[in-house]
Symmetry: C2
Subunit: 187 residues, 2 copies
């Protein structure tokens, strides 16, 4: 619970009342491995935070699963387009380990944004953070080789290799699993 509060605070400051209201708006779940947090063609009702475990965000393209994101411990994650536009999307979110997940409902968050100006600002800053991350990732995909991207991933998330199947990591990096296997075999 401590780390979660710190993560919330690190995004932006809130008045004691707003902070309290926001913190209490989150639900908590303990879910098993392979549990669906968002199903295919469903509307994403929640913005999630993963306290412990791993969630995989993926979709099907030409019959193949494409992993778009892997959320490890203490990260926020959500199905961006479905959540904001409240329409069904082909993005699926599923745990790949038994996980402890927190979530805030879209309508709850929007109501809080309406009611408290500083929560609106906090959320604006949270989205800004996502946008910046998205920019960095785009540059990485466009201008780095598969090998460089893999090495960067190893540096940033050393535990990912032990915990996530190779095929998921490969499609997250935008390469085939054969290519990743070959990168890996040369140390």
């Amino acid at each position: 619970m401590e780390i979660f509060n710190k993560r919330i605070d690190s995004i932006g400051s809130l008045s004691p009342e707003s902070r309290n209201v926001l913190l209490n708006a989150w639900e908590s779940w303990s879910v098993p491995k392979d549990h669906f947090l968002v199903r295919e063609n469903a509307i994403a009702h929640h913005l999630f935070y993963i306290k412990k475990g791993i969630a995989r965000i993926y979709y099907f393209k030409n019959g193949k699963e494409i992993t778009e994101w892997l959320a490890l411990d203490n990260e926020f994650f959500f199905s961006i387009i479905s959540f904001f536009e409240q329409k069904p999307s082909n993005l699926i979110i599923q745990t790949i380990e038994a996980s402890e997940v927190m979530g805030i409902h879209h309508d709850t968050l929007m109501a809080l944004c309406d009611q408290y100006h500083d929560i609106e600002r906090w959320f604006r800053k949270a989205i800004t953070g996502s946008l910046i991350l998205s920019q960095y990732r785009m540059d990485s995909i466009q201008f780095e080789t598969a090998q460089q991207r893999y090495e960067k991933l190893l540096t940033n998330y050393p535990s990912i290799v032990q915990r996530v199947p190779l095929s998921y990591i490969a499609s997250f990096l935008g390469i085939t699993q054969e290519t990743l296997s070959r990168i890996r075999s040369q140390h």
Copy 2:
């Protein structure tokens, strides 16, 4: 001016007062071709809107210019990381045609966000739009061939080919100019 107001309104609704205040906070400039809107290692003070003309957002990587974005008529654009974090960045913004540009200063916008809750909400929605666009672009880069990306660009911005040098388009698409020239030669 009409189109600009409509673009503002399309992002999110505002009270008459807030709308008025926001609209009046923008400055207008007529700038020649090759004019710098943000120089290298400078802080991006403005969020821009291009009324007429084209702006190119680019940076240097290993001595080569990489075009990250091309903003055509009636688009918002800015140096995301520098603007939000108010720190120098290697992103350069430069017009490539004589252009009419509008801009709002970071401090002005932040002050308005502080003062008016609905402007804060408007801005939150604007950023959300950027984030969604960024997601789409990432998928495009990761999972489409250079040819597909070029054809999509032609469909969405048919005038871009007449107005933007090939080398800029190529690096925007994440390919070399030779590759683009070859794609182009086969219709």
